[in-house]
């Protein structure tokens, strides 16, 4: 029985990790290529979730909603890049942080104005409802398995796009030397708009996927933003590979910490105290992990720029 639980918790850890990767990928992509700290990433996540919920409710199709999340978040991203971000590339990080923080407030209140203060309804499609039987002993949620598959597929797509295509080559060139790339006749402005829109689309897509098992409400993006930053910092800012490894590490540590820390502590301490301490420790476990990694690898596990 306990082996089954452990197996399920490992699977949960993997799934949480993949979910975090989906959320963090867009953030690290934008930073890696453009050197831009985008605090509004959580807002794009929220926009994706709201677009999906609204379209899914209106049309009755979750899949149309998912398409809408990609489209709306990408459009919002492109708009933000052209109107605001473009003026900030040569400015300091502090200016970028201030501008994108303002965007968080604008997006939150704008969404509340459009959709009201109450959470929206978004549920997984019927074919993913319920659990499947794995290896004959383990009941596991179908939708969570679906997220694992989609997450790995997304990671593969980004890898192929950046490393195997012409546009990926240009993106890498732009990240290495913006002026030289522009001098070679590549429209760097358009390229940056594309990258920002792609990052935004990833955020919106993850918002829709995750929103359908969590909750779609104003302010859903901010806690997620913090988690995404933890993942990105652990993995190495700007590295997609780092984001994947960082996300899996965080997912495992968080899930196993929540599942087992109180029990392990109970072997050593008074049960009531162990429970309190375990709850406190497991909720800070990922931050402890981040500290430890930064002590030994100040630039994260896979630093993007040397």
């Amino acid at each position: 029985m306990d082996v089954i639980l452990l197996l399920e918790q490992l699977l949960n850890g993997l799934q949480l990790g993949i979910m975090l990767f989906l959320i963090a990928a867009g953030l690290t992509l934008i930073f890696g290529v453009m050197g831009l700290i985008n605090l509004a990433h959580g807002s794009l996540y929220m926009i994706g979730a709201f677009a999906c919920a609204a379209v899914a409710t209106w049309s009755g199709s979750f899949w149309l909603g998912l398409m809408a999340s990609l489209t709306f978040a990408a459009a919002a991203g492109a708009l933000i890049e052209v109107v605001i971000m473009r003026r900030l590339y040569h400015r300091e990080h502090l200016d970028q942080v201030l501008a994108t923080f303002a965007l968080i407030l604008i997006c939150s209140e704008g969404t509340r104005w459009l959709f009201g203060s109450f959470p929206l309804y978004l549920d997984v499609p019927d074919i993913f409802y319920g659990a499947v039987n794995l290896f004959g002993v383990l009941q596991y949620s179908r939708y969570r398995l679906f997220i694992i598959v989609i997450g790995l597929f997304t990671a593969l797509c980004i890898y192929l796009l950046i490393n195997k295509t012409r546009i990926g080559m240009r993106i890498r060139a732009g990240a290495a030397d913006r002026q030289m790339t522009a001098a070679l006749g590549i429209n760097i402005s358009l390229l940056y708009t594309l990258v920002f829109a792609l990052g935004a689309a990833l955020a919106g897509f993850s918002g829709a996927l995750v929103g359908s098992i969590q909750s779609v409400e104003v302010g859903m993006g901010e806690p997620v933003l913090i988690l995404a930053f933890v993942v990105v910092v652990i993995g190495g800012i700007g590295s997609i590979r780092g984001a994947l490894v960082g996300a899996l590490l965080v997912g495992m540590v968080d899930t196993l910490g929540r599942g087992y820390l109180p029990q392990i502590l109970q072997l050593l301490l008074d049960p009531v105290f162990a429970n309190t301490l375990g709850a406190a420790l497991s909720s800070i476990a990922i931050y402890l992990l981040m500290i430890v990694i930064l002590v030994f690898k100040p630039k994260g596990l896979f630093p993007a720029h040397g």
Binding site: M1, D2, I4, L5, E8, Q9, N12, Q15, L16, M19, L105, S108, E109, R112, S117, F118, P119, L120, Y121, L122, D123, V124, F128, Y129, G130, A131, Q139, Y140, S141, R142, Y143, R144, S212, I213, Q214, S215, V216, E217, V218, G219, M220, E222, P223, T255, L256, R258, G259, P262, N275, T276, A279, A280, S282, S283
Partner: protein, 379 residues
């Protein structure tokens, strides 16, 4: 972001009932109208303003401001309302941590505070105050009712779960106060946590016969969806906060059949409640929640006190408030010595009415219930 709404009813000429000589009453409402959790504040405000508009009195002025769920902002607004606007009564705060930041200094400055929601234990026992009235409940009450209900429903092995913060601990303490069975497990999760896969796996493995959760707002929505998506069927219980009208739509069919405790529901059979539910739907186009009912009751309590006392005679006004001579939408309502309600707490079940998810009362969890802290209050 700040929203200011001033209702000054100048239609004095149309006012049919004259209130001879009574001074006008100025009420300041500080509540959460933006950001996360704003649905609760909006409901309290809408319920309150519905009663104010229905009364249509020229001698009542209400100022509403948004605290954005930030204690520091709430304190600032309270200072401004007390010192600059010279309000007689403050009300509106949703969250216990904001209430603890605002209420003690407010009541010590001689301003009355009527709570339409938060009921922290620190203000119910030794910390009670003659200027502080709670019109909703003491925080533990709904959980106590559910613990008591669990005994009668023959649940003997509950798994209990709440966020790791003061109200979460009060909740599980409240549940355990009257619950007689064993605990299959007790987990405190991180406040704001949205993924419960690890906890649900533990619940599945624990062999529990029932699950009690206190997960307000988005946390509850996330938990309920994931619980049902994982194919879990162990019955869930909770306080009304995770299964209220504003949230049910977002939870969807996963909430069907859940038992939850509340001091109010729209099907409570009394005249005041029928009028309230019909008027609220007509005015706002949605069903009222328990928060709206609390806002409505708070306004009607103030109005009832205005009928029998002058706000400038604070002793008389306090006595009028404490006598609670108004028709509460929840039926019988009176204040205990600590000026917290003594009331029935019902057990409700989430049902589908047409295509709308809502609650139906299926029994009484605790009859004429008073909070556990009243004895420590010297009032």
């Amino acid at each position: 972001m700040k929203k200011k709404l001033i209702t000054s009813l100048l239609g004095a000429a149309l006012c049919l009932t004259p209130h001879v000589g009574a001074a006008p009453v100025k009420v300041g409402m500080i509540t959460t109208l933006s950001g996360g959790g704003s649905g609760l504040g909006v409901d309290v405000r809408d319920g309150f303003m519905l009663a104010v508009k229905t009364a249509n009195r020229s001698d009542l002025e209400v100022i509403v401001e948004d605290d954005a769920r930030k204690p520091a902002l709430a304190v600032q607004i309270a200072d401004k309302m007390i010192q600059k606007e010279k309000v007689d009564i403050l009300t509106g705060i949703i969250w216990s941590n904001l209430a603890m930041a605002v209420v003690p200094s407010t009541v010590n400055q001689g301003v009355l505070y009527l709570s339409p929601n938060a009921g922290p234990s620190a203000l119910a026992g030794q910390g009670c105050h003659k200027n502080y009235f709670n019109v909703a409940w003491q925080n533990d009450n709904l959980h106590e009712a559910m613990g008591n209900y669990a005994n009668s429903a023959d649940h003997k092995n509950s798994f209990i779960l709440a966020p790791n913060y003061p109200a979460g601990k009060d909740a599980l303490t409240g549940y355990k106060r009257l619950y007689k069975g064993n605990l299959a497990g007790e987990i405190y999760t991180k406040l704001g946590q949205k993924d419960y896969a690890a906890e649900i796996a533990q619940i599945r493995a624990s062999g529990a016969d029932s699950v009690y959760i206190f997960l307000p707002g988005g946390m509850g929505i996330a938990f309920m969806k994931q619980y049902s998506q994982a194919g879990m069927t162990t019955p869930i219980m909770g306080p009304a906060f995770s299964f209220d009208q504003g949230i049910l739509k977002a939870v969807g069919k996963a909430a069907l059949g859940v038992r939850n405790s509340s001091q109010w529901n729209k099907d409570i059979d009394n005249a005041a409640n029928k009028v309230f539910v019909a008027d609220f739907e007509a005015a706002y186009g949605r069903l009222p929640s328990l928060y709206a009912s609390q806002g409505y009751d708070t306004a009607n309590l103030i109005l009832s006190a205005m009928d029998s006392a002058d706000i400038n005679d604070q002793d008389a006004f306090r006595a009028a408030l404490k006598s609670a001579q108004f028709d509460s939408v929840r039926g019988d309502f009176r204040f205990g010595n600590n000026q917290h309600p003594i009331q029935d707490i019902y057990v409700r079940e989430v049902v589908m009415e047409g295509d709308v998810l809502t609650n139906k009362i299926i029994g009484v969890g605790l009859k004429d219930h008073q909070d556990a802290y009243a004895a420590n209050c010297s009032l």
